[in-house]
Symmetry: T
Subunit: 137 residues, 12 copies
Amino acid sequence: MKIIIINGPNLNLLGIREKHIYGDKNFGAYMCELEELYPKLKLEYFQSNHEGALIDKIHEIGFSYDGIILNAGAYGHTSIALADAIAAINTPVIEIHISNVYNRDRFRHHSFISKHCKGIITGLGIKGYELAIQSFL
Amino acid sequence: MKIIIINGPNLNLLGIREKHIYGDKNFGAYMCELEELYPKLKLEYFQSNHEGALIDKIHEIGFSYDGIILNAGAYGHTSIALADAIAAINTPVIEIHISNVYNRDRFRHHSFISKHCKGIITGLGIKGYELAIQSFL
Amino acid sequence: MKIIIINGPNLNLLGIREKHIYGDKNFGAYMCELEELYPKLKLEYFQSNHEGALIDKIHEIGFSYDGIILNAGAYGHTSIALADAIAAINTPVIEIHISNVYNRDRFRHHSFISKHCKGIITGLGIKGYELAIQSFL
Amino acid sequence: MKIIIINGPNLNLLGIREKHIYGDKNFGAYMCELEELYPKLKLEYFQSNHEGALIDKIHEIGFSYDGIILNAGAYGHTSIALADAIAAINTPVIEIHISNVYNRDRFRHHSFISKHCKGIITGLGIKGYELAIQSFL
Amino acid sequence: MKIIIINGPNLNLLGIREKHIYGDKNFGAYMCELEELYPKLKLEYFQSNHEGALIDKIHEIGFSYDGIILNAGAYGHTSIALADAIAAINTPVIEIHISNVYNRDRFRHHSFISKHCKGIITGLGIKGYELAIQSFL
Amino acid sequence: MKIIIINGPNLNLLGIREKHIYGDKNFGAYMCELEELYPKLKLEYFQSNHEGALIDKIHEIGFSYDGIILNAGAYGHTSIALADAIAAINTPVIEIHISNVYNRDRFRHHSFISKHCKGIITGLGIKGYELAIQSFL
Amino acid sequence: MKIIIINGPNLNLLGIREKHIYGDKNFGAYMCELEELYPKLKLEYFQSNHEGALIDKIHEIGFSYDGIILNAGAYGHTSIALADAIAAINTPVIEIHISNVYNRDRFRHHSFISKHCKGIITGLGIKGYELAIQSFL
Amino acid sequence: MKIIIINGPNLNLLGIREKHIYGDKNFGAYMCELEELYPKLKLEYFQSNHEGALIDKIHEIGFSYDGIILNAGAYGHTSIALADAIAAINTPVIEIHISNVYNRDRFRHHSFISKHCKGIITGLGIKGYELAIQSFL
Amino acid sequence: MKIIIINGPNLNLLGIREKHIYGDKNFGAYMCELEELYPKLKLEYFQSNHEGALIDKIHEIGFSYDGIILNAGAYGHTSIALADAIAAINTPVIEIHISNVYNRDRFRHHSFISKHCKGIITGLGIKGYELAIQSFL
Amino acid sequence: MKIIIINGPNLNLLGIREKHIYGDKNFGAYMCELEELYPKLKLEYFQSNHEGALIDKIHEIGFSYDGIILNAGAYGHTSIALADAIAAINTPVIEIHISNVYNRDRFRHHSFISKHCKGIITGLGIKGYELAIQSFL
Amino acid sequence: MKIIIINGPNLNLLGIREKHIYGDKNFGAYMCELEELYPKLKLEYFQSNHEGALIDKIHEIGFSYDGIILNAGAYGHTSIALADAIAAINTPVIEIHISNVYNRDRFRHHSFISKHCKGIITGLGIKGYELAIQSFL
Amino acid sequence: MKIIIINGPNLNLLGIREKHIYGDKNFGAYMCELEELYPKLKLEYFQSNHEGALIDKIHEIGFSYDGIILNAGAYGHTSIALADAIAAINTPVIEIHISNVYNRDRFRHHSFISKHCKGIITGLGIKGYELAIQSFL
């Protein structure tokens, strides 16, 4: 089973900046933990601050992987192009928000991509990624 | 550890009606499965179609339990009173939506209670309840 | 043929209060008239000011009766839970408004339940219930 | 007693086109049925696709007839002029929608004329016209 | 100098119906008064309930007359086509409202044609037509 | 003189929870103080988290009491049914908000019941109930 | 007969600035013309850039004069206090706009004072003041 | 192959008025050019300023022609009745706007009929009609 | 203890005009009553129709008085400057509305100053001022 | 004559995915057909999922080519930057939508770029590109 | 070169109150600093809490000075009259906000006067006035 | 002291295109002028049309530089991702708009990034960059 975790803009700073919102766990270390927990899974990781690069990656693996775990960051709120990419592929996508977006700015309450995802996990911290993996199993 | 699953209006019909939206699993059977999977957990279940009864129950257990898993059904979209009840208690709450509400009516996209919950799990079917339990563990 | 008339909040005051809007006919007397007019019909009546009680009743008879005539009162304007209950059952529902709601407050122009009803009869006074019966015949 | 049924734009295609929405009954045949059912009634019929022609007709009969049964079609959603015509006359008007407009486009949920009508019958199919007649009796 | 007074829908009932809003003066009698007051003026009158007929008339005289006094009635609130007709012609137009529309329904506060008129006279009763004539002199 | 104080949802937690918003006075103790201050008054108290129970109570005493002091809590923001109940009775109602709702969530700025109340006292803490009593005297 | 012309903010620059919008006539000279045209009339003039001064003046003459011709300038779009002053007095008010406000900024299309005025004359230039006088005669 | 070009309100002035927006080509001359270019096509032309006449014409030819090229003018922005007519017929319709409506008034950006048309050609001048013909071929 | 009552625009007409809304009590006489009722209190009174004068007064006494009772009239609905003045001073402010503003124009439902006041008393007539005094004691 | 066809995000999947919306023609093959049809034309093709890359390309060719045919995909609905790029160049642009966007999501009805384009062709399928070429000829 | 700094409502409290928002510099002292820094400049200062007084001052110096530096305070958000005054004069105006208004209330994000100013400097503290002077030099 | 000037989309055309809006100064030449004026400053320049590249650059220098002067162009109006990047870094940012955006399209009045910037300088032309440098000194 092949699953990819895709993180969008500013999530390269995870565990480094704004720890009061996103927690202090380094994502690299977290990936190692996940790989230990699910040794039979083929787990891949991709991060980009470029909307176009995220779309390219989704096209690339969207017809052969078994699951995409996508934290689109701010692009979830603004990118119809990303939403269209998800609608166009075969692989099911689970949308992740680390923080509870409903406690934050009004414009973070709407996501263009939710409609095309299998499900959404919000506010359960970095553990949300693991819950998404379990949902795919 | 004491966890309660609270289901709101019309969810007594789960597994019986509108199976294309909510799936065909009977909730009683599902509770048995969960109890087997988590034998050390004290799991309770409550369902009501009465907004006031849901608030009464949240007050009753909201200072002694370790977690509430709440599928407020339609009351999530309309009940500020329910949201206030969640804000007033100590026990953390995880909000569950069985279906992906972002694929349905516009008025189902907003929930008054999300803001006061620890997190939200949407669209992952009846399995969402189990993921919420794992999140509490 | 089994038909139930369900009246929502404040409609227990029908014929007693605000007669300039709702008329001065007592609903009990009106039920007797209807039973005389349609002697072969099994006609039942239910009124409650509790949203949850209305939902419970709709679940209870919604798979065995032939018609529901529902004047949801103010809950028609605010209750998605009631609308969901109607969507979940088999029995067709006709929505009744005694007064012409389009001559009254702006928020009375919208009803969450209309969409799930077979039809709506508005502003034709207490006679609207009888027209609904004829529509079911 | 003199009653006129007035049908607005596109309703000349009734029973011919879009039968899944409006049913397959030809309106001419239906008028014959109504005349047989209510032999003592003077029943008239008028249809036009012209907003101005509908207003002219309403002016013409609006001070001498006992009832107008008006299916204004799309003009109900857009014509303040038609609403003004109804407000200006003496004859009471009952508004008819054959289909349940609350299941259709958002702009069909509002009618300028409802406010000036005695009542509204919606979604009960072509039978709505007959119920309106009974309401006038 | 050639001036035409054009009245839109329902204004054929002026002086006959809804006198509390529009006054009780018959428009024919009023035209006679105006002709006496301004004997050197060529004054014409046109009324129609048909949007298209109003447009046709505006096209017909809009390149040869010296002034149009237009009470478009409800079409002022809904007809972009009428506004386009005014924008296309050479003759200046003064818009008249007999009643003070700002004391009436919210949808009467907006007029599509005002933008293309030379000026607007509102709420000064039937005398507004005479003031418009004086404005053209 | 008979006056009833009615408290809506979550106000059973008054003086126990969220003291930074609602103060730390226990409502039972406060009722004793009021009874001592106004010994000649017949003062009653009712609290419920059920919208329907509040409506039932208002119907029950709304034709015989001299004043209702109503803190409808969150139902003030959402319940048209409660507003209709107030509009239907004879007893005048004064609406109370303990906290200044204009410093809180946007949706707390609107109350359906204000329109039908004699007056509204907001943000003056638990003392607001006493001021309402004085207003009735 | 006593009539006052009141001009609001920035109208002291009339005839001096922005002549393409407001024309090039000096208001003092215009007042002289009006006095010559209507020698029997007691005509007064007042201009202020202060909202409060306009209200004070309206209170002062609003119970003894026969007519107020008010060009409230920008205060018409923003001042509820001015509108309340007009509603409170006996003297009828005619609102004047020199330019056609419907050809200008969106926020100039709404006036709080129109509702309380006898009528409104818009876009007929400085001649609008004279038409208002004739309307009072 | 039978194709009809239908032009709506004010388009009888095409080539005569407002040439800076619509160009200076006379439509009659243009029809001749088209007939020469497509000699095998049966090309018809219809223009009316009457909404009802446009609907009548669409009903008349909408079950026998192969294509309708419709420039509905201002009625495209306001007429649900016209949109319903298009939805009711068999013949496919292509909507034409001569000018780029997105450079003009905000209310010209929305068309009720677009949804029911096969396609829309906007802003390509009078040549848009010819492109529509080619699209039908 | 020093308390000032400040009345905003048009409230100089209190007891003189629009008695059906504001009652018929003269404010001078009312001040005398209050002084008799609370002989130990230093009570001051200020009224102005000038927004700037109200701000000046609030600055002047806002650091030395114990309470301000402010009926801002229409400026409460429009003046952010007044709200800023209240936010800038030390003295607590209680906002008063004599009439129930929720029964009046829609724009009277919002007040910029409420947020910065200690509390708000609405619709309890001229007695509201006295209740505010008691709240300060 | 030099013309470039630019396709935006997800249009690399054209003819491969979502064929029910976009048709099943491969764009490479379609380019060959176009080159055969217009042998004298210098036709170029560019596709990118990167908003920035589309802007770079438009800058690069926007001062030397004779026409741009742009299907901006989802970026048309969200990218002001792309619209600014079109406004800054000399080469005229024709906007293409393969599907009829007015039959799809509400947010697809608005395009930031339309205003700056010469024209727009919508819903005529892949043939729209060819019609755009003819429009440039 | 003659430049005037004009401060609007509540800015007389600058350096005295709400120092966390506006800083603790006394404006008088700051004026001295500016005069020392720019000895060749004729620098004037004016502050008022009266909208009308600000307009009067702008008229007075708006045809002879070389620059106006205007911190309109709350009047920037509400006063169209002030905006009209700026539009009417010759002297260019630079708008200043000491604090970053985009971090504060929603209604502080809009300013009626910005459109008519040469430029706007926001959030750079009291130094913004000096930057404005440099911009004029 | 290290300061970077970052220009967003289409600003590579500065001084070349749309000179009536943005002026005719070439940005390279302007950078030279700035370097001469502030010889002790380490001044860097970066321009990109790629949203992701701007975010990458902000991350790269956002923890070591002393100031960022950012003209985000159109991305300021649409990019929450860019705003999040600014919120995540340590270096203070000053937002620059060369033109007065309040004189242009409505959608240019809102910027997602303003909230997270130290200040904003708008409409003062290319000199705005220099004023920003002075603000950092």
